[in-house]
Subunit: 337 residues, 2 copies
C-alpha cells in the first residue's frame, strides 16, 4: 500500500469528481485512469484515505468525494498549475491593452476573469496607499463651498465637495492651496494624514479655520480612497452550478454584495510559494461561504491589491489558479506603464 499511489488515487478522485459531479467508485477509477492495480486494491487505498479524512462517502456504499481537507492536499501537493494556452494568453493581452481608462481596465479585467474561469470574479481597485500626491486643487464653487481634488501619482483622482462654516475668498483659497501643496507634494498617501497634521499646525492662525475643514476632507480622500472599492462579474455563473452549493446561493450573493466582507476576505488570504492563495470551503472565515472556494492573488507594484475568483468547492483548481495568476500578471504589467 504505497504512499505515492494513494496520492495518485486522491488526485484521480478529485479530477473525476470535479468534472462528473458524482461520487466516484473504485471500479470507475481503474477504468478511467490506467492505474496498474485492481479495484480491490483501490478500495483499500480509499479506506485509508477516508480514515485520514481526505475523502468521504455521502452514504454507505456509494462512491467517495473529496473533503475540504482532501482538496487542500490536492492543491498543496499534487496539482500543478497548468499554463494557459497561447491563444488564451494572446486574448488576455489584447483585451487588456485595448482599455483607455483605469476604470475601463478594471472592468475588462473582472469580466475577463469571470469568463475565463466560468466563475464569479472579484477585483479590488489598486491601493492608493503606496502612491504619492501628485497634485492638489481647490475650486471655489460658491462662497461657502469648495471642491477639493486630490490626484495621486498612479492616476487616480479623488474629489469631494465641502462646505465651510464661513465664506472664504478666492485669494485666501489660493494661498491655502499653495501652502498645503508645498507641504505634501510627493508625500505617500499612507503618510498623508500625518503630514497634513504638520501642515495644519504651521498655518497662520487666520487660515486655520478653513484650512482645517479642507485638510479633513483631504485626509478622507486619502484614506477611504478607491482601494476600498471592488468590482464583481459573473455572478450568473453561480446559478449554473446550483446543487454544487450545499445550501442555496443566497448567502453567497449576500456576501458578494457586502464590499466589507469581500475586502476582509481578500485581505486575509495568505500567499504560498506560488503566490496564489486558496481558501477551500470551511476554511473560509465567513459562514455563508462554506461550500465555496476562493482563489486569489495580489497584483500591482507591491501586490497590495487583490483579485480572484469564487466558485464551488468542487472546482478545477489547476486551471482556475492558472487563470487567476495569468490575469494578475498581465494586469500588473498594464498598470506599470
Amino acid at each position: 500500500m504505497s504512499e505515492p499511489r494513494r496520492l495518485e488515487v486522491l488526485r484521480a478522485i478529485v479530477e473525476d469528481y470535479v468534472h462528473s459531479r458524482e461520487p466516484v467508485g473504485s471500479k470507475a477509477l481503474v477504468d478511467r485512469h490506467g492505474l496498474g492495480v485492481s479495484s480491490a486494491t483501490i478500495r483499500n487505498d480509499m479506506a485509508v484515505l477516508e480514515e485520514e479524512g481526505l475523502i468521504a462517502a455521502p452514504h454507505t456504499s456509494s462512491g467517495r468525494i473529496p473533503t475540504d481537507k482532501g482538496y487542500r492536499l490536492f492543491v498543496d501537493r499534487i496539482s500543478e498549475v497548468k499554463p494557459l494556452s497561447a491563444p488564451e494568453k494572446k486574448a488576455i493581452q489584447t483585451l487588456l491593452e485595448g482599455a483607455d481608462d483605469l476604470d475601463d481596465v478594471m472592468d475588462r479585467t473582472v469580466r475577463l476573469l469571470a469568463q475565463l474561469t466560468n466563475q464569479v470574479a472579484v477585483v479590488q481597485f489598486p491601493r492608493v496607499g503606496g502612491a504619492s500626491v501628485r497634485h492638489i486643487e481647490f475650486v471655489l464653487l460658491a462662497p461657502q463651498q469648495i471642491l477639493v481634488v486630490l490626484i495621486a501619482s498612479n492616476g487616480t483622482v479623488q474629489q469631494r465637495i465641502v462646505r465651510t462654516p464661513a465664506a472664504i475668498q478666492e485669494t485666501e483659497l489660493a494661498d491655502l492651496r499653495q501652502r498645503i501643496l508645498s507641504a505634501v507634494s510627493g508625500v505617500k498617501l499612507s503618510a498623508l494624514p500625518a503630514e497634513l497634521g504638520v501642515a495644519l499646525s504651521q498655518l497662520p492662525p487666520a487660515l486655520r479655520a478653513h484650512g482645517g475643514t479642507i485638510i479633513r476632507a483631504l485626509e478622507q480622500l486619502a484614506g477611504l480612497g478607491r482601494d476600498d472599492r471592488i468590482l464583481l462579474a459573473g455572478t450568473a455563473n453561480l446559478a449554473r452550478s446550483t446543487g454544487d452549493f450545499p445550501l442555496s446561493i443566497g448567502p453567497i450573493l449576500e456576501a458578494l454584495e457586502e464590499q466589507v466582507v469581500m475586502l476582509r476576505l481578500l485581505s486575509e488570504m495568505e500567499y504560498d510559494a506560488r503566490g496564489i492563495s486558496v481558501r477551500i470551503g470551511s476554511e473560509n472565515p465567513y459562514g455563508g461561504l462554506s461550500g465555496a472556494s476562493v482563489v486569489a492573488t495580489g497584483y500591482g507594484p507591491d501586490a497590495g491589491a487583490k483579485l480572484g475568483v469564487l466558485g464551488p468547492t468542487r472546482m478545477d483548481y489547476p486551471t482556475t489558479m492558472a487563470a487567476v495568476r495569468a490575469v494578475a500578471r498581465y494586469l500588473s504589467r498594464i498598470l506599470e506603464e
Copy 2:
C-alpha cells in the same frame, strides 16, 4: 354574473396567490374572502376569467394562477397603492438624510429599496444632461498631461487625464481655461458639445491645437457622464424566491450585470398617471426577464433618472409600488437641497 364581482374574484386570486405561492381554488376563495356567494358561482366566474386570459390553470383541475395579463389588469384597475406606515417613512427619511456624499446617498437608497421590498433594487445615477456647467478646471500634471475636471451644478464631478501631442505652458493653459469657462459657464450639459464647438472656433489659432484636445475631453465628460452608471442591491433576494422563476435565476443575474441592458430597460419604461411604471413578465423586452416584473419610476428634477425594483411576477405590487414611489420622492427631495 356581474362584472364587478368578477374583478373582485380576480383581485382575490391575485392576493391569495401572491402570498401562498399556490394555485388558488374556488373553495378556498369563498372561505378566505367573505364573498357572499357559493363556490359554484365563483367557479363560473373563474371560467370566464380564464376565457379572457386573465387566469390559468397549471394543470387540469387544479387551482388558478393569474396570468401576466391578469396581473396587468390587477395593477391597472384594481389595486390601490397603499401608503407606507409612518415608522417606515420616518426610517427612510432619517436614513437618507444621514448621507453626506452623492455616492453615499445613492448607495443608501439602493440598499434601502432592496430591504423595503425584499427584492432586487436598481438605481440609476442622476442624469447630468439637465444639469449645467458650474466649473471647469484644467490642471497641468506634466508638460504633456492635463487633468480636465468638469463640475456640474448637481454636484457631480467628472474628470479625465488627457495627453497633449506637444508640451503646453501653465500660462497658456490658464488662458484656455479662462476662455472656455466663460464660453460655457452655466450651459446645460446636454447643450455643451454644441457650445464647445463654437468656443473652439473662436479660439485664437495659437490655442487651437491644445484647445481641441481639451475640448474633446470635455465633450466626452459631458456625454458619458455618470448617468450611465447603475447601482444594484439585494440580489440575494433572488435566491430566496427560487421556484418563483420559471427558469433558473441565471439569465436574470446576467441581465442585472449588464449595465447596458438595465439602462435600456429602465429608460424604456412608460409611466402611467400615477407616475409608476410596471413591466410584467413577458412584457419585458429582454427574454431572460420573462418571469420577472419590474416596478420603476423616475426621480430627480425632471424625473430623468430612474430607480426601481425587479422581482418575481408573483410579487406584492401594491406594496412594492408604494415603496418605490416613496423612495423616489424622498430621494428627489434630498437631491434638491
